[in-house]
C-alpha cells in the first residue's frame, strides 16, 4: 500500500517535484474532469430531450395537474397522461444513464486517487464517454437490442474495471 496524495511530475521541469492529484496539470485528473463534465452535460441533456418530446407531441405527461390549461398545455385531454412511447423512450434512456453514469463519476474519482497511468485513464474514461454516446445513438435511433447491448456492456465493463483497479491498488 503506497500513499499517492501527490503525483510525480517530471514532464515540465527538469528536476523532480511532486504535484497535487487534483491539479489540472495532472493529465489523469484533467482526463477525469473532461470526461465527467461531458457526462454531466449528457445526463442533463437527456432531461431536456424528454421535455422537447413532451412539448412536440403535447403528451406523455406524468402528473394529473399537467392537464390544467396553461402555457404548456393549451387544450388538455386525459389521453395526455397515457404512456407515450416517443416520450417514454427518452425516460428509459435517462434511467439507463442513471444506472451507469453516477457510478462512473465516483469510480473515476477513486481511480484518479490511486494515480494510474495516463494512457490507461485516457482509454478508459474517453472510452466510457464514447460508449455512452454510442448507446445514446443506438437507443434514440432504435438500433437492434444487440447493438445497444454492446455499447451498454462496454460502458459497464469500464466502470467495473475502474472500481476494481482502485480497490486492488488500495488493498494489495
Amino acid at each position: 500500500m503506497v500513499s499517492k496524495p501527490f503525483v510525480h511530475d517530471a514532464a515540465n521541469s527538469g528536476e523532480e517535484r511532486e504535484m497535487p492529484i487534483f491539479a489540472l496539470e495532472n493529465p489523469v485528473f484533467l482526463t477525469y474532469l473532461i470526461a465527467s463534465a461531458i457526462m454531466v452535460l449528457k445526463v442533463m441533456g437527456q432531461g431536456w430531450m424528454t421535455v422537447y418530446r413532451m412539448m412536440k407531441i403535447n403528451g406523455g405527461y406524468a402528473s394529473p395537474e399537467d392537464l390544467k390549461t396553461g402555457l404548456i398545455n393549451k387544450s388538455p385531454s386525459p389521453s395526455q397522461l397515457e404512456v407515450n412511447e416517443y416520450v417514454d423512450r427518452s425516460r428509459r434512456m435517462h434511467r439507463n444513464d442513471l444506472e451507469n453514469v453516477p457510478a462512473f463519476w465516483i469510480a473515476g474519482l477513486l481511480f484518479v486517487l490511486v494515480d494510474p497511468a495516463v494512457w490507461l485513464a485516457q482509454i478508459l474514461m474517453y472510452g466510457f464517454v464514447l460508449a455512452r454516446l454510442a448507446h445514446f445513438w443506438a437507443y434514440a435511433t432504435k438500433r437492434t437490442h444487440e447493438v445497444r447491448a454492446t455499447f451498454y456492456t462496454l460502458g459497464s465493463i469500464i466502470v467495473i474495471y475502474l472500481a476494481g483497479h482502485a480497490l486492488w491498488v488500495a488493498t494489495m
Copy 2:
C-alpha cells in the same frame, strides 16, 4: 491551462499563502459542502416521504411479498399493489431528484476544483438548493406544470453551467 491545486488566501493573513482546495477555510469548498450535504438530506428525506405515504394509506406497495401479514401490513389486500397517485407522486419526485442532484454533486465538485469566484459559487450552489426546494414544494402541492417547470429549469441550467464552466477552465 492553470494549475489550481491550492487557492490563494490573503483574507485572514496579511501575507500571501496558499491553502488546499478542500479546506473548510476555502469559502468555495465550504459552500459546496453545505449545499451538497443539504441535498443529501433532501434526497434521503424523499425516500422517507414515500415510506410515510405508504404507511398512511396502507398501499402503493411495489412487491408481491408486501402483501404478507405483518407489522407493516396487518390486513393485506391485492389492491395495495396498485399504483397509488399519493404514493407515486413521491416516487416521481424522487426520480426527478435522481435525474438532477447526483449531476449537481459531481458538477459542483469539478467547479470547486477549478477555483471559481466565491460569490459565483454561492449564487449558483445556494441557488440550486433553493430551486430544488421550490421544485419540491411545487410538486408536493400540485402547482401547475409551468411553476414546476420553472424551478426544474433553474436547477438544470445551474448544473449545466457548473459543468460547462469547469470544462471551459480546464480546456481553454
Copy 3:
C-alpha cells in the same frame, strides 16, 4: 470552524507530521475508497442481474425494437414486452440502489473531508455496505417487508448521519 486539509499522522512516525486527506495511508479515506468501490461493483452488478434474468426467461424487455429477431431474441413475441415480475424485481432493486448509493458516495466523501475518527468512519461505511448487501439478499429472496425495510432504514440512517455530521463540523 477548523481547516482539515491534512490529517494528523502520528501512528507510523515518532514525530508529528501532516498527511493529505486523500492518501491511502489515511485510514478514513482508505475505508471510504473500499466501501465506495464495493458499492460501485454492487450497483453495476445489479444491471447484470437484470440482463441475466431477461436472458433466462427471454422476456421483460423494455423497448419495442427488442422484438426484432437476433442473437438475443431468436423467436420474438409481443408478450416479451410485458412487465415480468422476475425481471422487474431486479429493476426495483436497482432503483432502490440509485435512491441510496449515490447519496452515500457523496455524503461519505464530505464526511472524509471533515476528518472524522477512524472507528466511526469504519462502523458507518462498512455498516452501510453490510446493510445494502443485506437489503439485496432480503429483496432477491422475497423476505417480508419488515426485514427489507429494516436494512433499508439502517442504510438510510447512516447516509443521513454522514451528511449531517459533515454539515455540523463545517458550520459549527
